[in-house]
Symmetry: C2
Subunit: 709 residues, 2 copies
C-alpha cells in the first residue's frame, strides 16, 4: 500500500510542476497589442473547437457509460468515465497553456533564441507531464479505491474490468481527438496553402489569408491536444494491460506479492515522472546554439536517470531474485526495462534518420523534386514504405529479447518502461505547436525579420521533434497493442478455465493456430481496418481542405480589399467551417474500430453455426483480427508518419537554398509532396495508433461482457 | 491415366490455337514503310531487352538448378528447369506476337474498329492460351513422366518436391520478369512523360521524343511478358499446391483414387482451356460498338461454359458422392469451384468500379485535381487504400464458404478454378499493350486522326482490362498463397509424423498459435517484406526515370533539330539505357523474398537456442512470416494496382473534357497523379504477387531440403 501512495505522490508532483510552469509561462511578456489580438483569435478558435469536440464525444461517452454500467456494473462504468475525463483534461489544459505560450514565445524570441526555447519547451513540458501524471494518477487512485476502499481483490474481475474500462475511456477520447484534430489542422493547412501559397502567391501565415488563424488553431487542437490524448491513452492502456497480465500470471502468488507485482508498472511510471521533471531542467541552449541538442540533452538525462530509477523501483517492489510461480527473476524484468529504453532510443534515432534534412531519405526526395511533382511523390512514397523496415526490425528484436528474458510479462514491462518516458517525449512534441504558432504570430504581427529567423529555427526543430515523437507513439502503440492482445488471450484462457462460473465459455475451445481458416479470415479482416480507416481520414481532409479553398476564394472574390491589405478577412468563418467539418467527419471512422470486434464476433459466431463451435470460431477470428490490425496498422502508421515528415523536411531542405531554393520548380514539386504528407503524418497516420488499441480494448471488454452475462 | 492424357490433349489444343492465331495475325497487312520501320524499332528493343533479362535470370537459374540437384536430386532440379523454361517461353512467344500484332492492329484500325479489335484480341489470346496451356502441359507431362515412366508413387516425396520445384522455377522467372519489365516500362513512361509532356509540351508518343520507342518497348516487356510470367506462375503454383494438398489429405486412399484426386486440379485447368478457346470466338463487336462489351461477352461465355466443364471434370474423376477418408463430397468440391468463379467475377467487378471512369472513385480523383496536384494525390491515395476493402471481404467470404464446404481442400479447388480462367483473363490483359503500341505507331507514323480515334478507343479499353486483370492476378495470388501456406503447414505435419525417416524433424513441435511470440515476430517480419520490396521497386523506377529525363534533355540540347523535326532522335540509346537499368535494379529486390525464409529460419533457430526447440521456434516463425507476407502483401498490391488505375483514368476522364479538359490546371494535376500511379500499378504493385508466392514456395522447398538431408 505504501508503494501505491508513493506513486500517487510522484503523480502529484507532475501537477505541482505543471502549476509552477504554467504560472512561469503566464508571467512572461505577451508582446504588443497586435500580437495579443492574433493570439486571442487563435485561442478562441481552439477553445471553441475543443468545446464542441468534447461535447460530441460526451454524447457518445454517456451512451457507452450507460451500456457499461448496465452490462458490467457501476464501478466499471466509473473507470471508463475516469479515463475519458482525465484524458480530455490533459489535452484541454495542455492546449490552453499552448495557446497562451505561443504569443509569449514570439515575444521572448525578440530578445533571444534561448528565451524563446525556454518558454516553448516549458509549455510543452506542462502537457507532457500532465499526460503522464494524470494517466498515472487516474489508474493508481482508482486501483487504490477498488482494492482498499471497495475492498476488492487485486485480481478480481471487477478490478480488471474497471481498469480495462478506464483504458477504453482514454482510447475513446484519443481516437476522436486524434482524428477530429487531425482533420481540422490538415484541412486548414492543406486548404490554406493551396489557395494562399499556390494560387494567390502569398507566403505561409500571411495575415491576408483568411485560413491563417484556422491553421494556427489546428496546430493546437491537432498536434497538442490530439497527441496528448493519444499518448495518455497508450500510457494508460499499457499500464492497465500489464497489470491485467500480472494479475493472470501471478494469480497464484500470495495477496501481498500479487499486489506488489501489479503495482510494478505504476511504480515504473511514477519514478519516470520524477526523472522526466529532472530532465526538463537539462534543456538549456549550449554554446553551440543547437536547439535540437538542448532538447536531446533533456531526453538523454531522463533516459539515463530512468535506468537507475526503474532498477530501484523493481528492486524495491519485487527484488532482483526469483519471482513467485514463474521461471524468471526481478533482474530479468529490469533487463526488459532496459530493452524498452533501448527500443525508444533506436526508434527515435531511426525516425530522425528518415525525417531529418541531414540524411539520405530527405535528400533523395528533395533531389527527386527537380524532375517534377510526380517524381517527388514517387520518391516520397518509396521512402515512406522503406521507413517501416528498421522500426519493425527493432520491435521484432525487442520482442525476441524480452520474451526470452521474461516471457510475455517481459514484453509488457519493456513497453511500460518505454511509455514511462511519455512525459518527456510529449514535452518535445507539444513544443512543436507552440513554436509553430509563435512563428505564425511573428509573421502576422509583422515583427522584424530577425525574430522570424529565431522562431523559424525553433519551428524547424519542432518539425523534427513532432516526427520523432510520432515514431515513438506508433512504436509504443504497436507494442502496447501486442500486450493488449496477450491480455485478450490470457483473459480468454482464464474464462475458459473458470467456465463453471462463466458459463458462456463452457465448451469453448479457441484455436489460434494459423492453420485455422477463421484465424486467416480474422487476420485479413483486421488487416483491412487500418487501410479503410486511413482512407476515410485522408478523404475527410481532402473534403475539408476543398471547403476551405472555396471559402478563401469566396472571401478574396467578395472582399477585394483583403489582398491589398485594406480589408480584414473573416478568420472566424474558416475556423467555424473547419470545426463543423472535423466534428462531422470524425464520427464514422472512429466508430469503425469500436464496432468491428463486435461485428466480427457475431458474424463468425453465426457463420460457424452458433453454439460452442460458433463461439470458438468467433473468439479465434476476433483474436486474429486484433493481430491483423496490429500488423498492417504498424506499417500503415509508420509509413505515413515518417513519409509525411520526410516530405515536409524535403521542402524545408529546398527552402534552405538547395536545388534552386524557394520559388524554383523543385520547390513547387516539394510543396506538392508536403501537401500530400500533411494528412499522412498528421491525420490518418497518427490516428491509426488509437485505432489499433481501441480494437484490442473493445475485444477485452467484449470478453468481460460475455463472461458477465 | 486416360484422364491425364486427355488433359495433355486440352493443353495441346492451346498450342494449336496459338499456331492458328499467330499465322492469322501474321498474315494481316503490316501498313506502310514508316509504320513498319517504327514497329521494327519496338520489336528489336523488346527482343534485345528480353534476351538480356533471360540471360541474367539464366545465370541465377543455373546456380539454383545446381543447388536443387545437389540437395534434392536431379528429378527435382529438372522440375525447376521445366517451370522456368516454360514460363519464359510463354512470355517470350507472347511478346513476340505482341510486337508483330501492334503495327497490324494500327493498320487494321485504318479500315474498321472491329478489324483492329479482332487482331489485337487475337494477339492477346495467343499469350493467354499459351500461359494456361504451357503451364498445364508442363505440370501434367512431368507428373505423367514421374508416376508412369519413372515409376514413382503419386504422393511420394520426390513427385511432390519435383512439382514444387516446377512452381519455384516459374516463380523465379515471374518475379524477375515482373520487376525488370515493370522498371523498364515505367522508367520509360514516367521519364518520357516528364520531359516530353511536361517540359517540352509535346504530346504522348510524339516521334520527336527520344524515349517514345522505349515507352512502346516497355508496354510489351512489362505488361505482356511480365503479366504472362506472373499468371503462369500463379497457375502452376496453385495447381501444384492443390496436388500436394490432395496427396496429403487423400494419402490414405487407394492408389487409383489418389491419382484421380491429384489429377483433379489439372482436369479443371484442361477443361477451362477448352472453354477459354470457345470464349475467344464470342469476342465480336456488337451493334452497340462497345469494345468492353465485346470482351466481356467472351469472358462471360467462358465463365458460363466453365461452370458446366468443371462440373463434368469433377463428376468424371471423383464423382459427386462422398470422397475417401474425408467428410465432404465431390459435389461440395464443385460448389467450391462455383465459389471460385464467383470470386473472379466479383473481383473483376469491384476493380472496374474502382478504376472505371463511370464511377465515384475515379470521378472524385478528377474533381480533386481542380484544387491542385496535392489534392489529386491525396484523393488518389485515399481511393487506393479504400479499394482494398471490398476485395478483401470477397476473399474472406470465399475462404469462409469454401472452408465450410470442403475444408482446406475446398479453398484450394476454388483457387484452382479461379486460375483455370487465366487463359481468357490474360488474353484481356495482353490485348492492352498491343492496342497501346498500335496507338503509338499511329501517332508516330502520322496516320489520319480517325485512325488515332479508333486506336485510342481500343487503348482506353486496354487500360481498363489491364487494371481489371491486375485485380484478378492479386486476388488469385493471395488465395494461391494461402493454399501454399496450407501446403507448408501440412507438409511440416507430415515430416514430423514421419520423423523416423526424416530425422531432422525429431522432437520438433511447431506452435502456430498467435500467442507464441515467434509467430508475432514472423507475422511482423513477413509484413514488412512487401513494404520494403515495394519501396525498392518504386525507387528503381524513380532512378530509371531520372536517367531517362537526363538522356532526353541531353538529346534535345545536343541535337536542336529534333524538336524542329529535322533531326532524328537516338531512340536506341534510351532503350539501351533502360535495359541496363532494369536488369541491374531487378536483382536485389527479387532476391529479397527468395532469401528471407532461409534467413528467418536460421536466425530464429539460433536465437531460440538451436536444437529441437530452436527448430520448433524457427518453423513457427517462418510459417507466420508466410502469412504476414500475404496479409500486408494483399493490401499493398491491391491498393497500388487499383489506385494506379484510378489515377490513370482520372486523367483520361479530364482529357475527355471534364473539369477544363486537356491543358487545364486540373489536367496538369491529373498528369502528376497518373505519373505517381505508374510505378504503383505497373511495377511495385503487380510484382508483389510473385513475391508473396515465392516466399511461400521457398519455404516449402526449405522443408524438403531439411527433410532430405
Amino acid at each position: 500500500m505504501t508503494a501505491l501512495w508513493v506513486i500517487v505522490l510522484c503523480g502529484a508532483l507532475s501537477i505541482v510542476y505543471a502549476i509552477w510552469a504554467t504560472s512561469s509561462v503566464l508571467s512572461a511578456d505577451q508582446g504588443n497589442a497586435r500580437m495579443q489580438e492574433i493570439a486571442a483569435a487563435v485561442r478562441e478558435g481552439a477553445q471553441a473547437y475543443l468545446k464542441r469536440q468534447y461535447m460530441t464525444i460526451a454524447a457518445v461517452g454517456i451512451a457507452i457509460f450507460a451500456l457499461l454500467a448496465y452490462f458490467l456494473g457501476v464501478l466499471v462504468a466509473i473507470g471508463f468515465a475516469i479515463g475519458a475525463v482525465l484524458s480530455g483534461a490533459a489535452g484541454f489544459i495542455g492546449m490552453n497553456v499552448s495557446v497562451r505560450a505561443n504569443v509569449r514565445t514570439a515575444q521572448a524570441a525578440t530578445t533571444s533564441l534561448a528565451g524563446g526555447l525556454e518558454l516553448a519547451f516549458k509549455a510543452g513540458a506542462i502537457t507532457g507531464l500532465l499526460v503522464a501524471g494524470l494517466a498515472l494518477l487516474g489508474v493508481t487512485l482508482y486501483f487504490i479505491y477498488l482494492i482498499h476502499f471497495a475492498g476488492l481483490d487485486a485480481n478480481s474481475r471487477t478490478v480488471i474490468d474497471a481498469l480495462v474500462a478506464l483504458g477504453f475511456g482514454a482510447s475513446l477520447i484519443s481516437i476522436f481527438a486524434r482524428l477530429g484534430g487531425g482533420i481540422f489542422t490538415k484541412g486548414a493547412d492543406v486548404g490554406g496553402d493551396m489557395v494562399g501559397k499556390v494560387e494567390a502567391g502569398i507566403p505561409e501565415d500571411d495575415p491576408r489569408n483568411p485560413a491563417t488563424i484556422a491553421d494556427n488553431v489546428g496546430d493546437n487542437v491537432g498536434d497538442c491536444a490530439g497527441m496528448a490524448a493519444d499518448l495518455f491513452e497508450t500510457y494508460a492502456v499499457t499500464a492497465v494491460a500489464t497489470m491485467v497480465l500480472a494479475a493472470i500470471f501471478f494469480g497464484m502468488a500470495d495477496k501481498a506479492q500479487l499486489q506488489s507485482i501489479m503495482t510494478l508498472p505504476l511504480a515504473i511510471g511514477g519514478i519516470c515522472i520524477l526523472t522526466s521533471i529532472i530532465g526538463t531542467f537539462f534543456v538549456k541552449l549550449g554554446a553551440s546554439q543547437s536547439i535540437m541538442g538542448a532538447l536531446y540533452k533533456g531526453l538523454i538525462a531522463t533516459g539515463v536517470l530512468s535506468l537507475f530509477g526503474v532498477a530501484g523501483a523493481i528492486y524495491w517492489l519485487v527484488g532482483f531474485g526469483p519471482l513467485p510461480g514463474v521461471s524468471y527473476t526481478g533482474l530479468a524484468l529490469f533487463e526488459c526495462g532496459v530493452v524498452g529504453l533501448a527500443v525508444t532510443g533506436l526508434i527515435i534515432w531511426i525516425t530522425e534518420y528518415y525525417t531529418g534534412t541531414d540524411y539520405r531519405p530527405v535528400k533523395t526526395i528533395a533531389a527527386a523534386s527537380v524532375t517534377g511533382h510526380g517524381t517527388n511523390v514517387i520518391q516520397g512514397l518509396a521512402i515512406s514504405m522503406e521507413a517501416t523496415a528498421l522500426p519493425a526490425i527493432v520491435i521484432i528484436a525487442g520482442i525476441l529479447v524480452t520474451y526470452s528474458l521474461a516471457g510475455l510479462f517481459g514484453i509488457a514491462i519493456a513497453t511500460t518502461t518505454m511509455l514511462a518516458l511519455a512525459g518527456m517525449i510529449v514535452a518535445l512534441d507539444a513544443f512543436g505547436p507552440v513554436t509553430d504558432n509563435a512563428g505564425g504570430i511573428a509573421e502576422m504581427a509583422g515583427l522584424p525579420k530577425e525574430v522570424r529567423k529565431s522562431t523559424d529555427a525553433l519551428d524547424a526543430v519542432g518539425n523534427t521533434t513532432k516526427a520523432v515523437t510520432k515514431g515513438y507513439a506508433i512504436g509504443s502503440a504497436g507494442l502496447g497493442a501486442l500486450v493488449l492482445f496477450a491480455a485478450y488471450n490470457e483473459d480468454l484462457k482464464f474464462f475458459i478455465a473458470n467456465s463453471a462460473q462463466n458459463t458462456y465459455f463452457q465448451g469453448v475451445q479457441p484455436d489460434f493456430s494459423l492453420s485455422n481458416p477463421y484465424v486467416t479470415v480474422g487476420l485479413l479482416f483486421g488487416g483491412l481496418l487500418p487501410y479503410l480507416f486511413g482512407a476515410m481520414g485522408m478523404m475527410a481532409v481532402g473534403r475539408a481542405a476543398s471547403a476551405i479553398v472555396e471559402e478563401v476564394r469566396r472571401q478574396f472574390r467578395e472582399k477585394p480589399g483583403i489582398m491589398k491589405g485594406t480589408e480584414k478577412p473573416d478568420y472566424g468563418k474558416a475556423v467555424d467551417l473547419l470545426t463543423k467539418a472535423a466534428i462531422k467527419e470524425m464520427i464514422i471512422p472512429s466508430l469503425l474500430p469500436v464496432l468491428s470486434p463486435i461485428f466480427v464476433y457475431f458474424a463468425i459466431y453465426f457463420i460457424a453455426g452458433g453454439g460452442a463451435a460458433g463461439k470458438s470460431a468467433a473468439f479465434s477470428a476476433v483474436g486474429a483480427m486484433l493481430l491483423g490490425v496490429i500488423v498492417t496498422g504498424l506499417f500503415v502508421a509508420i509509413s505515413m508518419t515518417s513519409g509525411g515528415g520526410a516530405w515536409d523536411n524535403a521542402k524545408k531542405y529546398i527552402e534552405d537554398g538547395h536545388h534552386g531554393g524557394k520559388g524554383s520548380d523543385a520547390h513547387k514539386a516539394a510543396v506538392t509532396g508536403d501537401t500530400v504528407g500533411d494528412p499522412y503524418k498528421d491525420t490518418a497516420g497518427p490516428a491509426v495508433n488509437p485505432m489499433i488499441k481501441i480494437t484490442n480494448i473493445v475485444a477485452l471488454l467484449l470478453l468481460a461482457i460475455l463472461a458477465h452475462n
